[in-house]
Symmetry: C2
Subunit: 419 residues, 2 copies
């Protein structure tokens, strides 16, 4: 497709209307980092004003009874609809890290006494590694974190993973979609392998939620956590979600028991009585402004439908890979994501020995915004509700220019800041 | 003072200008629940719009480098100025519950092996009891939560507390200001008693921060946590703060190690390297909208100065107590707060056998907003930056009317909702 052809394609896009639901302050900016921070839904801006000015400013404390108490559960219930879960299986609270800690530790403590180890892979978030080790420390059984190595840095063969799960394994915890390569595990297959060995699985859905259809209930999932500020467009640092399969909710104990997890928080009873169902995994008072901002993005995804979102996502990542093949591979860019769409999430990683400097040049000179992940990896995130084919064309063209015109050379290879 | 005299007093109030810094949507509403949810600072409304529309909507991911990364530390540093702490001793993160969990567990794990017990009192938040028990469970040393009983439900004599600290005590954790009675511990005296027995103290400052001068460094405090949505006016569920004395920061390990506590989060290293200083007690990504809303309220308190705030607070709670003595004691109201100002925080609790129904009548018929705490306790919170003497007069007069005109009788004694 030429640039003009991408415009025609965008005009014919059945999801084109959804882009209007987002604030696009500068149409010349090519934003392919929605997998790190999703764009602002226009309705979220209005909603936050309402929460601040009307609910906090005017309603004051009465707003807790008038809606805030139920708000996280209502948004969690909607989020469940994107994850193949029942509303009463999902809660919204804390950060992904804290939720991962709570569920990992709960699962480790509930495992049979002879099972203490935790299995993960080296594609998982480093942060998840830190949290999983924190949970192992506190489980107090001397369990180890066994990290399955990816042979190519892109994916882990399912047999390799299966071989790592043994009679000492208490829990398997993986990112469903790998943050760097976008590799997507076959969730049902992994659950089945683990369950056959009587092991539970805890998924991190941070790069899956809102990016592709997830079927927690249908795939037999046990536990999951995930982030709302990426493909769900919930806003910077917005609180995270957690999922506990219905049948498991009573078997697990929240290791951080706070008043919001109590059966009757306002009884102010000195003894703790866990709430019914998923509510028992809550802890403290939720940050309402950041919670409220999540809902509009979730609503947009529900309205679009995850199947349509996925269809466009695959078309867009495939398109980017074709452009890579044609224009960028000859310039030293390496595809660092799975080639087959079925095993790939909604971003594409291109590695280059000059990745860091190329990323800076893309951002600072050509106004194309991907992000960089060490050592050499540039991620291009596709968010079908607002990403256009034209943007993908622009991004690939910009990569080509940065290398052929050596635009990256003005930057020091020394890393600065977040991206 | 008559109603007119209170108006004259308010007009002469040296802090009167600060009330204009808050949104007062309805001047006829008597809001005495700022100890539960502080009012909206006008600047917070503008600041949140800026964060949402300009920083998230337009700045997108670049806003992390342009300010969000440093935002929690900047606000924490300002908050430190209200607490008698150095900026590098305070962090802003998570909920009060999660922070209490982190510091309590860190302290329990760092205690000598023969010390496992935790001492608290029955004036402390029930939620703190749940969290402290959670931490004891995970410390894995079989330690117990020893709860010192208040003889009158209002205060705990310091000798009673001292007697509970023994050779098995690993940590003392108390609310500095009790959420129900407003009793204020002598922080320096408690720290000294505990330190003499080689025990650390973890303070919950939720009802102290912004309510009265706190001198963490000067009183030799070890650890503290607290809430920002009460007297700091940070907004519903706004993230909490934690304090770790400089000399102790390297001695304690954060039990929930996430990427924001890492020395270099964006190195994405699978091994955890704790950050320097207070940063190591962070965990996940902070909820930026709710974080940003905290700053304007803190700024107003810094500008007013905690000494002036305290002076007015004492004058206002004394005034309410005089009105109670004169008009309400004869109607069966009991003072459930310390009589001496020095040991009293910034709210006054009045108990009444019909407390629950009186509270509802105050709110629903007379538009006076205190809050209710079981079994019979009505709390009247004074926030000197916006509370007027006229409001206190109105509140006492309303209490008198509700009882003499039996306005409470239309309500069922069955508790509903939050207040």
């Amino acid at each position: 497709m030429t640039r003009d052809e991408t415009r025609a394609r965008d005009a014919a896009d059945p999801l084109a209307e959804f882009r209007k639901g987002f604030v696009i302050a500068d149409p010349e900016l090519t934003y392919l980092d929605g997998n790190s921070l999703g764009r602002l839904p226009a309705a979220a801006s209005l909603r936050v004003r309402e929460v601040v000015d009307a609910e906090w400013g005017e309603g004051l404390i009465s707003s807790w009874n008038a809606g805030w108490m139920d708000l996280p559960a209502r948004i969690a219930g909607k989020t469940a609809g994107l994850l193949g879960a029942a509303p009463e299986e999902v809660a919204l609270a804390d950060s992904t890290s804290v939720n991962l800690f709570k569920l990992a530790l709960a699962a480790l403590r509930a495992a049979p006494p002879d099972r203490a180890d935790l299995v993960t892979d080296d594609l998982n978030f480093p942060s998840d590694h830190y949290i999983l080790r924190s949970a192992l420390d506190l489980a107090g059984r001397g369990g180890e974190l066994k990290t399955v190595r990816s042979p190519d840095g892109i994916s882990v063969p399912i047999e390799t993973l299966a071989a790592a799960i043994d009679a000492r394994t208490a829990l398997v915890s993986l990112s469903h979609t790998a943050f760097k390569s976008a590799y997507v595990y076959d969730m049902a297959a992994v659950n089945e392998i683990a369950h056959r060995r009587a092991v539970k699985v805890l998924w991190d859905l941070s790069h899956s939620a809102g990016a592709l259809p997830v079927d927690l209930d249908g795939s037999g999932a046990d536990l999951a956590v995930g982030c709302t500020y990426k493909y769900l467009n919930g806003g910077p640092g917005a609180p995270a979600f957690l999922y506990v399969r219905s049948e498991l909710q009573e078997q697990f104990e929240n290791p951080i028991r706070g008043w919001f997890g109590h059966a009757d928080p306002f009884a102010f009873d000195l003894g703790y009585q866990p709430g019914a169902g998923i509510g028992r995994f809550l802890t403290g008072t939720p940050p309402i402004l950041s919670v409220a901002a999540i809902e509009p993005g979730v609503d947009l995804l529900l309205e679009a439908g995850m199947d349509r979102v996925r269809e466009k996502s695959v078309a867009q990542t495939e398109y980017l890979i074709r452009l890579w093949q044609q224009d960028l591979q000859p310039l030293g860019f390496r595809l660092n994501s799975p080639r087959e769409a079925e095993r790939r999430g909604s971003h594409v990683s291109l590695a280059h020995p000059e990745g860091y400097r190329i990323n800076r040049a893309l951002i600072e000179q050509l106004r194309v915004i991907p992000d960089f992940r060490l050592p050499d990896n540039i991620r291009f995130g596709v968010c079908p509700l607002y990403t256009t084919f034209e943007e993908i064309h622009r991004a690939a063209e910009a990569c080509r220019r940065v290398v052929t015109e050596r635009l990256y050379e003005r930057y020091s290879p020394e890393r600065q800041g977040v991206t």
